[in-house]
Amino acid sequence: MNNSLIVVLIASGVTYGTPILFGALGELLAERSGVLNLGVEGMMLVGAAMGFWAEQRIHIGSGALSLILGLAVAAFSGTVMAAIHAFLVVSLRASQIVSGLALTIFAGGLGLSSYLGTDLNIAGVPATHTFHAFFPNTMQNWPIVGPIVFGQNPLVYFSWLCVIAVAYYLARTRPGLNVRAVGEAPGAADAMGISVAKYRYIHTLVGGAFAGIAGATFALAITPTWNSGDSLVQGAGWIAIALVIFSFWRAELCLVGAYLFGAAQALQPELQARNISLGPTDLWANSLPYAATVIVLAAVSWRGASRRLGAPAALGVAYVREDA
């Protein structure tokens, strides 16, 4: 039963969906404060390279510690990347779209992430330690819930904590409500004495940290290796941005969406492993996550639904006090 296609797809959907979920949670925080950051893909790739490097090269005793260090370095490098975007769009009021694209080009597979990875010479070797399932084998073999719930790597459980934290933060805490005010009506928030720039900086930076962790999830758990180019992340950053739209800017819905897209990504390797072919299998199965993104995006934007259903009103707009 645990080997049936459906259970395996759900279980690997959760695994593959986790980096998308991390990326989406970070983007969600940035967008709720009014900053659209299209640099997620690039931040993920830099996080992957730096996280992998730190785990491989900095020896601090146990494997668990070095993995946590890798994660921390990945989060930090994502933050540094996001700081460039934040400075350009919050302080210098540059176009958020162009700056985000610039960040992905600068940091992405043809830019900084490849430069750092090649220069630090980390390509093509398997990771010394990886995040892997830690529940006892008997629990992992329980029917259905075994592989889906107990067979996951620790980052999956960490992502669940993050979902709860982000949802609670935005709905129930003072700073969380302030962020939403900054994203919806920066002028009003400013008049209340909330620093728009400070909130936008902080949430863009935290978004970068999440994207960095997402990259490390690829490099230290899913495909535990690093290669130059963008083969590690393959558009997951962009899917994460789209996911924020499908989930109507809600953390809990991000979780569901991320696993659906994760399952779509898991389909091709799973079909290949089982020798199942239906027409040009690799073509449609590889394209599925991207095609699904296009279709779902079109569906939710039908008649401006996304604007009604939760897009922050000031998303993408620089705040200039004199104009408010």
Binding site: L88, V98, I105, G109, G117, I245, Y290
Partner: protein, 377 residues
């Protein structure tokens, strides 16, 4: 240190020229810092890059090979971005253009049609393919209001898989199925000789081949310039780009403009794709580590932004960045890690973006009043 940003009331011409130049210089300095921090000598690196791009024997020939596709993707991005339609799907439109354009070349070339006709059909076929692919994102934006940024990007991946499938995973019309080489490694079918695009040779630097594609790129730039500066259509597109509300109030048909602008942008990118086949490869490049690793579509965004969406400036920037990409490829190794070119391009783009602010604004430092202790000598 605190500062405020104030709007300037005047806009002298010198500032429009000086600010971008200073921004690019600052970008080169910052990229040099990245080189320095990672243990490379920035001055000698820049010197080597410049030599490999424009000076050494055969360098200009190679530079044109990188610059031609960049000119197309740069113009494609400029055409769309000018209206704030963010088509970042030039990459995929380029692949599709190479597929459809190659089809016309293989089919009509194989039937022995006269070369100029075959080439003309290839050009049209490539443009139609790119335009059709871009129109998917264009139609979704026009009719559903779907973000064209995300859809056009997703379509890049799908186009890439399609390209690989046609040459690697199927026995399609585009794949070479006969001969010894075909059994060793999958390749695209070679164009017949009457479908190969001509090049004109300049006899300096040991011979520089100027491909037909370079002339087509110049023609596309002139077309865009005339379209945007001299026609009602172009005027309306620019108004839409500057203020959608004003355009709607004036009765501009937004939906049609989005559709046409996406189609024009895609057609130019598709032309870049068929130029890859006709000018350079002479077959469809389905290798995931070939055309798809070069990222011409993404670099085109940098080209367009640095050229401030002006078609002629785009051509110039494409030539310069083409030199950079060519130098980056030919020097790649221990001293020039892959990715260096993207780093330099990205940093220059950041500084130019930041510089935009200084064209129309003034940054003023706010002095905090000195405390008595500080004021004492």
């Amino acid at each position: 240190m605190r500062f405020t940003v104030e709007r300037r009331l005047d806009l002298p011409r010198w500032r429009l020229v000086a600010v971008p130049i200073v921004s690019i210089a600052l970008g080169l300095v910052l990229a040099g810092l990245v080189l320095l921090v990672t243990g490379h000598n920035p001055l000698s690196s820049y010197r080597q890059l410049f030599d490999a791009a424009f000076v050494s024997t055969g360098s200009l020939d190679q530079t044109l090979i990188s610059a031609t596709p960049l000119a197309f993707t740069g113009l494609a991005a400029a055409a769309a971005f000018r209206m704030r339609v963010f088509n970042i799907g030039a990459e995929g439109q380029l692949y599709i253009g190479s597929i459809t354009g190659a089809f016309f070349g293989l089919y009509f070339g194989g039937r022995g049609a006269a070369s100029p006709w075959v080439i003309a059909l290839m050009v049209l076929g490539g443009m139609a393919g790119g335009a059709a692919w871009a129109s998917i994102a264009g139609a979704l934006r026009a009719f559903f209001g779907t973000s064209e940024i995300l859809t056009s990007l997703m379509l890049n991946y799908i186009a890439g898989y399609l390209l690989t499938y046609l040459v690697f995973d199927s026995e399609s019309y585009w794949r070479q199925t006969k001969g010894f080489n075909a059994t060793v490694f999958p390749t695209g079918k070679q164009l017949p000789h009457n479908a190969v695009w001509p090049a004109w040779t300049l006899h300096t630097q040991g011979g520089i081949g100027v491909p037909l594609g370079a002339f087509l790129a110049v023609a596309a730039a002139i077309f865009l310039w005339v379209l945007y500066r001299r026609t009602r259509f172009g005027f309306e597109v620019q108004v839409l780009g500057d203020s959608e509300g004003a355009a709607r109030y004036a009765g501009v048909r937004t939906r049609r403009k989005v559709l046409s602008v996406m189609a024009i942008s895609g057609a130019i990118a598709g032309l870049g794709g068929v130029s890859q086949v006709g000018d350079f490869g002479h077959s469809v490049d389905g290798d995931p580590n070939g055309l798809q690793r070069l990222g011409y579509g993404y670099s085109g965004i940098v080209v367009a932004a640095l050229g401030r969406y002006n078609p002629f400036a785009v051509l110039l920037v494409a030539f310069l960045l083409g030199g950079l990409e060519n130098a980056g490829n030919s020097l790649q190794g221990a001293n020039f890690p892959s990715g260096l070119v993207g780093v330099i391009e990205g940093i220059i783009l950041f500084t130019t973006l930041g510089g935009e602010l200084l064209i129309r604004h003034r940054v003023r430092l706010l002095r905090t009043p000195k405390t008595a202790a500080e004021a004492m000598p």
